[in-house]
């Protein structure tokens, strides 16, 4: 399932996939795979992404 919340939170901060990837020390392809729903990140990576985007885990990764 696509993670549109992550994509919109990233876009709201005007960050590209590459920018976010560099901030959390992963490859751009990994961010792309998370947004497309092709890869389920570990809790550590989820936390790192949340810190950079200023969101909580629930806001970005919890499915309603």
């Amino acid at each position: 399932m696509k993670n549109l919340k992550l994509k919109s939170a990233r876009a709201a901060l005007d960050l590209s996939q590459q920018d976010l990837a560099e901030k959390v020390s992963v490859s751009r392809q990994t961010i792309s795979a998370i947004e497309k729903g092709d890869y389920n990140p570990t809790i550590n990576l989820c936390r790192a992404i949340c810190k950079v985007l200023g969101k909580t885990l629930d806001e970005l990764f919890w499915e309603e």
Partner: protein, 175 residues
Amino acid sequence: MNLSGILILFSIIVGILLAKLFQRKTRTDNSKKYRYDERQEVVRGKGFKYGFFTILICNGLSVCLKIAEVPLFAELELPIIIGSFIGIGVWVVYCIWNEGYFALNENKGKIMILFVTAAIMNFTVSTVAIVRGTIIQDGKLTYQSINFFCGLLFIIIFLTMFLKKAYKDGKDEQE
């Protein structure tokens, strides 16, 4: 051990040392190790598993054919080495296609140049062996054909990188 055995061992050691030396030059930072993210580690692990089972199947098949006295295209050592090359190829191609091959701190361009150089060097050596007529003896391939298969492996890896890049560029344009 005869002279050719010593030379082969020496060549392998020199090859490993050169590869280590080149590894340092391909890193984009000063760290001592290649860095992979968690998704890449998963991809590499899966690729390793597929490569490992490929080697098991290829080598098992070669040994079974030998036991069954089915005439092979070469003595047993060569099919086993070729089986290893196929396994390595499966691992590398899988990793490249799933974007887990290149580390975060690795210069892709330099690696591609290295692979093309390695392919050319191996094909040059195998061409010399073909011209001398030492690649086939008694209707079977000799160990001197290893360079040809090694060159072929590097060409396949390079082509995978090239195709992946073309596929990715096309996809990026669509997005």
